[in-house]
Amino acid sequence: MRPSILLSTLALALVAQATSLTGNRALVLLDNLDDTDSYMELWNDFQSRDYNVTIRETSSPIALSRYDQREFDHLIFLSPKMKEYPKGMSAKAVVGFVADGGNVLLAASPELSSTLRELSREFDVEFDNRFTTVLDHFNYDDNLGNKQHDVIAVNPKTHMAKINAIVPQDAVSGPVLFRGMAHSVNPTNSLLTSVLWAPQEAYSWESVNLEEIADQDPNVSGKDISFVSVLQARNNARVAFLGSTEMLTDKFFNAKAKKHGEAETVSGNRKFIEELTKWTFREKGVLEVVAVEHHKVGELEAPAHYRIKDNMTYTIHLAEYHDGEWHPFSADDVQLELIMLDPYVRKTLDQIALTEESTVGSFSTTVQLPDQYGVFKFMVNYKRPGLGYVESVTTVGIHPFRHDQYPRFISQAKPYYTSAASMGVGLLIFSFVYLWGGLDSSAKTTKKA
C-alpha cells in the first residue's frame, strides 16, 4: 500500500510541473525510425511544451503500464502501417490506457492497417477502405496537390468546428492542408466531435488507380468526410483521430498554401496541430468544480436538511484550465437540477460578474424547493463538446412540515372553529337545561320497579 501512495504522490508532483494536466510522458510510435526526421517541427513544439517524448518503432516491445501504473501519459500513433501491435501492447491495452486516463492521438494514411482500423472502431470512428484517399478537384492546393488533386486546402473559417475550447476560430489564419484518408464518425455518439471536415465537392477514392475514371459511387463524400475528429471519454481522457500523418510533417507545416484559384498564404497546419494537441493532451478545456455552496435565503451556512417549499440559494464555482493555469470559467448555459428520480426543478444558473480578483467563475441561483419531501440531488450536469465534463452531485434531505409548522388560525377555516366551539358550548347549555329542567320529569316517567 505504502509504495503505491508514494508513487501516486510522485505522479501528482509530475502533473503539477507539466503544462498538461495528465502528465508529460509522451510515447510516439513510428513505422520506421527513419520517419523521425520528417516531424522535427512537431518534436520541437512538444519539447517547448515540456513534454518528455519517447520515440519507438512498432517492432520493439513496449509496456504501456507497469504495476498497474501508466508508464506514459500520452500515446501518439504515427504508424499507419502497423500490422501488429508491438510486443506487450494490444487493442485492449490501448483502450485500458484511455480508461486509465491516458490520451491518444491516432494519425492515419491511405496505407492504414486493419489493426488500427479496428482500434478506431472501438471509439466509433470508421476509416474508409484501405488505399483510398480524399480527392477534391475544386479545393486542392496548387503547390503540393497540383497533379492528383489529393492535397486539400481546408478553410478553417467554414470547415472547422466552431468550438473555441478545442481550436479557436482566430488561431488558425491560413488554410489547413490535408492529404490522407477519409473517416466518418457516428453522429449519434455524443462523445465524438468532428473538428475538421471536407468541402462539399470532396470524395474518397482509391489512390492506386487515380488515372482511371471514378465510375462508382464513393463510400463517403462531401461533408460526411471527417479529416480530424476528437473524442472525450467519460473519464475526461481525450482521443484524437487524424486522417493524415502528413499534415503533421515539416513539409506541410512550412508549406505555402495556395488553394486553387486563390492567393498564396502560409499553411495553418502548425497552429492547428498545436491547438489540437494542446486540447488532446489536456492542456486546455479542462473544467473543475472548485466548490459548491447552498443555503437557505437569508442564511450563510448549509443546513443539515431543508424543508419543503424553502427558498434556497445554490452556488457552484467552476475553474477552467488553460495556458498552464486555472482561470475563472465563463458560460451562460450552466443548469441546476433538483432530482429525485425525475428532475423536479431545472433552472439556468446566473454567472456572478467577474472582477479583477476572481479566480473562479461563480454561478448562482435562488429557487423554491418543490412541495415534495425525500432525498434529493442538487445536480449540475454540464457536458459540452470540447470542455471537460462537469457532474456535481450534492445529496440533501428535504423534510415535510413539522406538526407545529403548519399555518394556524386560517381565516378560511373560521366557520369550522366556530362550529367546533359551538358544539362545546351547545353541549354545556344542553347539559344545564337537561339536568335542571328535563331529567326530573323524565326520571319520574322512567322510574319503575
Binding site: Y416, Y417, S419, M423, G437, A443
Partner: protein
Amino acid sequence: MNEFKSASNALLSTYIKDTPRSLKLIDSYMVYVLLTGIIQFVYVCIAGTFPNNAFLAGFISTVAAFVLAANLRMQTNPKNASQFPTTSPERAFADFIACNVVVHFAVANFLG
C-alpha cells in the same frame, strides 16, 4: 294535500302531547347540531376543502354530537326501557358526557 296537512297536524299535536319533556329537549338539541353540520357542508362545497383537517374536525364534531345525542335519546326513552333494563337515565347521561369529552379532545387536537 289536505290529507297531508291533517296528517302532519296530527303528528305535531301527538308529538307535543305525548313526548316527554326531556326527549323534546334532546330533539331540539339534535336539530341545532344537524343545522350546524349542514351549514358546514354547504360552506365546504362553496369555499373548497383547503384546511381539510379543520373541516373534518368541525364536521365530525357535529356528526359525533348528533350520534351521541341520538344514543342518549334511545336510552332515556321510556318506551325503550325494556331494552335497557340496567341503564338508568342518569347513567345514560353520564355516558353521554364522557363520550362527548373524548370527542371534543379529538376535535380540538385535529382542528389545527
